[in-house]
């Protein structure tokens, strides 16, 4: 954790991501970055800006457009002692590399009885709401939470992004590090200088409350906080908001303790309802806290359809009104 003597700086999330990689490149020679347009260009979202000049082309490696190559090569590097960070330009372009992730990154450790390991971080921007083209906006976190052998992390602000990314790079196992596009520049938080980590698998209680536990992550954190602010003003209720931050492994203690306190739960995510991570949260609550519940668990999600392009994406995303209605539903049940 951070000591009070450390200097802090206000950063956007993309700056937090960059700062984390900079710290780790500085500290550990084995950390290298591979990806499309990450070198001279500094990355299409500028995540690696300045790193190429600072660390050189042997460590900040511009790759051909070959996601299978990027991930497969990173697996080889990782199994041979490096700490590669693979940038996938948009999460929607990961599918050519899916084979490498699914059949190797997640399994090398198990099938070699722990002799080969894959400490790789795959970073990818994702999510709707920035008027991106089709495929660029999908929220497919659950494709990865469904793969045993890889952890799945989703920060929503600069402080978490830096601490979680450093923890991911240090982690002995593969980590899917999903960066919500809408969070890149939409908020700033104080970020300490130097190295600090946030434990993978630990949720963050953003706001204490008594009447309902609202679980969310990524860009929906901002929307949920806003929706709740007006709701609490207008109605006499108090909501607890929890940013899950890690989607695998889920933070069982924090989730169950919160639901056992409030007796109600709502889950908000962008992804389609079917197969979305909300289902795992519901199962966890069912397994740990069923008898504490005073209302059916609510969820507000995207639809079971591809994310539409910009003209309609606001209709697709969970709106403040839908989030508020779900909460009111549960509280007034």
């Amino acid at each position: 954790m951070v000591s009070p003597a450390v200097n802090t700086k206000k950063m956007t999330m993309i700056e937090g991501v960059r700062n984390a990689m900079d710290e780790m490149l500085k500290e550990n020679e084995d950390v290298i970055i591979l990806g499309e347009d990450i070198g001279v260009n500094g990355g299409v979202f500028r995540a690696t800006e300045g790193l190429h000049e600072k660390y050189g082309e042997d460590r900040i490696i511009d790759t051909p457009i070959s996601e299978s190559g990027i991930i497969g090569n990173s697996i080889g590097l990782a199994a041979n002692g490096f700490r590669p960070i693979a940038e996938i330009q948009f999460l929607g372009f990961i599918y050519p590399g899916f084979n490498q992730l699914m059949t190797h990154a997640t399994r090398l450790r198990q099938r070699s009885l722990g002799r080969f390991t894959v400490p790789v971080v795959v970073r990818a921007p994702y999510g709707a709401g920035v008027k991106a083209p089709e495929i660029h906006s999908d929220s497919v976190e659950s494709l990865f939470t469904h793969m045993p052998g890889i952890k799945v992390v989703v920060p929503s602000n600069a402080y978490d992004a830096k601490g979680l990314l450093i923890a991911s790079i240090d982690d002995p196992d593969p980590v899917m590090f999903l960066e919500p596009l809408r969070c890149y520049r939409s908020n700033r938080t104080e970020v300490p200088d130097g190295k600090y980590t946030i434990d993978i698998g630990r949720a963050s209680v953003l706001k204490q409350g008594d009447d309902i536990s609202v679980f969310t992550w990524g860009a929906m954190v901002m929307d949920t906080m806003k929706a709740i602010e007006t709701l609490e003003e207008e109605q006499n209720m108090s909501c607890e908001v929890i940013d899950l931050r890690t989607l695998y492994p889920l933070d069982k203690e924090t989730i169950s303790a919160s639901v056992q306190k409030t007796g109600r739960a709502a889950i908000i995510h962008e992804a389609p309802a079917t197969g979305g991570v909300s289902n795992d949260v519901i199962s966890l609550i069912n397994d740990t806290s069923f008898l504490y519940l005073r209302a059916p668990i609510q969820r507000v999600t995207g639809f079971d359809t591809p994310v539409p392009v910009y003209s309609l994406e606001q209709e697709y995303l969970p709106s403040a009104a839908k989030i508020q209605a779900a909460i009111v539903n549960a509280v007034n049940f």
């Binding site: 457009i65 089709e134 639809f303």
Partner: protein
Amino acid sequence: MSEAKHERLGLERQQLQGMLQTMLTARKIDERMWLLNRAGKIPFVISCQGHEAAQVGAVTALRPDEDYLLPYYRDMGMVLHFGMTVKDLMMAGFARAEDPNSGGRQMPGHFGSKKHRIVTGSSPVTTQVPHAVGFAMAGKIKKENFVCLTSFGEGSSNQGDFHEAANFAGVHRLPVIFFCENNHYAISVPVDRQIACERVSDRASSYGMHGETIDGNDPLAVYEAVKNAADRGRDGAGPSLIETMSYRLTPHSSDDDDRSYRSRDEVDDARKKDGIVTFTEYLKTRELLTDTEEKDMHDAIQQTIDEATEAAEEAAYAEAETTLDHVYHS
């Protein structure tokens, strides 16, 4: 004087002017799209500028009522020739319900029209290339005599999809034209960081097909190469890999700033070789295009684009509920 190139190819005045017209139309639509983007009216542009000569040269050698096109995002020149209208493309730019490609479900530059034999594609690069092989295989089984042209950038030729498709087409001797529009960059990454061989067309021999690299600023040279490739395809002689060398005159897309990786001198030099400029000159020096014809052509295109822009601006988005349509049969 020796025979001019177009005479040797059997191309006549009207056809040649038609080629220029399509090239210019694509260029001017694209220029308009950039203006609209900078004015905040459309969120995204990905350009054909610098590729028009290669594109139009290629499709002029095809039969739009018989052959199939599986293009990539820069191929405005190709889809215009295959029947898409300026208005269609503007509707797509504005993501309107009337967009015939996808009813406003895709970004501009993601072409698809069953009517015009343009097979729908999507954003992940190179994914259209294996589809072309499947279309060609269907034609072979059904004993139809069409060819499929599929295009992609040189950077995209490093995806597994390209290699798997090329190998498949080679093994089955399928009438596919793999059309690589080499513009020296994949966004910021220069070609020497993308491929280790000198030319993308060097890869053809590994897949048992004909390969060649030609000047993409010369629509007549491209026409000739694609015509020969199409003839080979129709004659059962299998696929070809045609690589055109040209230059992207704009940033990669409206989200890119190319100043971080290309010098302005390099871009200015490329402008001097712009196929639209050189082909106009070719036609004029051979008296295949008068000044008046040229001016009329420009004016007519401009007017069509103005009308299309206006129509698209006024058109409606799709209704929100329609996003739930067509996910399944019912």
